[in-house]
Symmetry: C2
Subunit: 353 residues, 2 copies
Amino acid sequence: KTYRVAVIPGDGIGKEVVPEGVRVLEKVAKRHGFALQLDWFDFSSCDYYLKHGRMMPEDWKQQVGGHDAIFFGAVGWPKAVPDHVSLWGSLLLFRRDFDQYVNLRPVKLMPGVPCPLAGRAPGDIDFFVVRENTEGEYSSIGGKMFPGTEREFVVQETVMTRTGIDRVLKYAFELARRRPKRHLTSATKSNGISITMPYWDERVEEMAKAYPDVRWDKYHIDILTANFVLHPDWFDVVVASNLFGDILSDLGPACAGTIGIAAAANINPERTWPSVFEPVHGSAPDIAGQGIANPIGQIWSGAMMLDHLGEGEAAAAVLGAIEKVLAEKTLRTRDLGGNADTVACGKAIAEMI
Amino acid sequence: KTYRVAVIPGDGIGKEVVPEGVRVLEKVAKRHGFALQLDWFDFSSCDYYLKHGRMMPEDWKQQVGGHDAIFFGAVGWPKAVPDHVSLWGSLLLFRRDFDQYVNLRPVKLMPGVPCPLAGRAPGDIDFFVVRENTEGEYSSIGGKMFPGTEREFVVQETVMTRTGIDRVLKYAFELARRRPKRHLTSATKSNGISITMPYWDERVEEMAKAYPDVRWDKYHIDILTANFVLHPDWFDVVVASNLFGDILSDLGPACAGTIGIAAAANINPERTWPSVFEPVHGSAPDIAGQGIANPIGQIWSGAMMLDHLGEGEAAAAVLGAIEKVLAEKTLRTRDLGGNADTVACGKAIAEMI
Ligand SMILES: CC(C)[C@H](C(=O)O)[C@@H](O)C(=O)O
Ligand SMILES: CC(C)[C@H](C(=O)O)[C@@H](O)C(=O)O
């Protein structure tokens, strides 16, 4: 079996960690008896923007829309290109145009990773954040009134559709059903945000009826963030709106030690379009170009890609290799107290497979 | 000098902790040579609602609007009264009708309080969250389209006005200027929320010009919550929108050990209306009626009230007494590993003054 994967390093450390991700993917493909056809693209990067005046070519959908998956690095550097231009011209465009309505992010305390929470060991923190990825607080609808005057004000809509909520809830409940704990937590704020969030709650309650085998609860986002710190062992699958999911999927990995190794999948479950697999960390301008970035977020995202492609055993092999390398101080990168550089860490993981 | 204070216990553990707050206030008043005229009110409670069909009497503004401050417990129990009724009929009404546009919440690791963050000691965590308290994401403007059908959707506006942003920023910069570190951090999400948050950033940049002596930075809310866990020592004054401030002022106290002792002030800086001083914890139905609630959030809120009334020395004396009692295991309540009940803990603090 051959999978066609579009490889987009992007910019910043994306260019350094994507090759390591690819190294591991090629190794595991060989071991597990499938093939990867990798097509590399230089767009969706600020470098591309500085040359062409746009983040991606006009026909980007034709170029990558037919692939089985997109393996993406990071975007956002150099800062000459404003954030809203680089992000809304690439990352957020993928999510919306390819209808990747699920953003899935594992939160897992790994061996060898120092945990900022006192007394927590691997096993105590092991859950998923399922984030709605196309609507909600990221609507871009709104504007400014009385510009330049004292009376100036801005408004922006949060938009939540039944279709948009239900489909991500369904994904989250299905995921919870497949996990041993069968537990789903919904993030809300219906006591303060009085229209959209009560509607979210309503849909959760409705969807829960179809999953009597899944235990579910809900927390307001304020106390939920507190409970990530105080009781990370309470969670199994956490489902949240676009904004709340964004927050929880940075906070979660931080509680599990570092966002430097966190992985993410932007999934179109219907497979009408390719899904995008990208680490949570950004382009990291402060360390870009030095060859010291931690490639694990990228490699872990590769494992999620394999899972999505139906190569679950290969995915598990990659995750196992990551855990083994993390447990070995000398094989870790500097951000985790080791002294390996990006390439050495990537090679070590590939060799473990 | 005599201060007129409206005392509103509310419901749940509010009724248990407010008397302890009052005990401490009366003691410190005697010691520091001022008087308190305390007027007690039974409204702004679910009990009141169940009797009268509303959370507060029609003339509530006349009844408490002339006081120098409102000392408030908690509201939200019994649950027969839906959250949005109890909260929007009391707490959130105070904030808006009394134009309490600053919600100030200290985040401070206290001696004797077990910290969930590894290796942190008192002194490492000591900052303020300044939350916009009247507009933003809590607008209540919006509605539902195509109700009851597959096409159903809801929208809700976030509204940010120049007046509303500037005044809370001014308060935050002034506070930062009075602190030794003179450091302000702004919470944003301008890379994802593309209209309101860039405007917030713009106003921060503008306001910063008037405070060249204050060092300032900004973080997107996702990475900011991560940094609360990873680097709580980075913060001094954190200013945020209504929703982001809500999140940060639960997460912050959790990082500092517990929201059970966190204090808050809802401030109308112009003193046109009374400010409300209330602990961050709610009515806590699970332990209400047992006399075991921790009264420190309430007592600490009382200290903030004294500060607001201009009795800074008395406020410092209360805070000092809280620290002394917290350091003593036997004087702590159960939630902090002690065995004192609500009254014993309150009395201990009063005696320390
Ligand atoms: C009860 C709720 C509406 C309130 C808020 O969101 O403002 C609370 O969480 C708070 O922080 O005071
Ligand atoms: C870069 C930014 C727009 C993005 C988001 O908010 O979705 C990022 O934080 C993420 O989580 O992928």
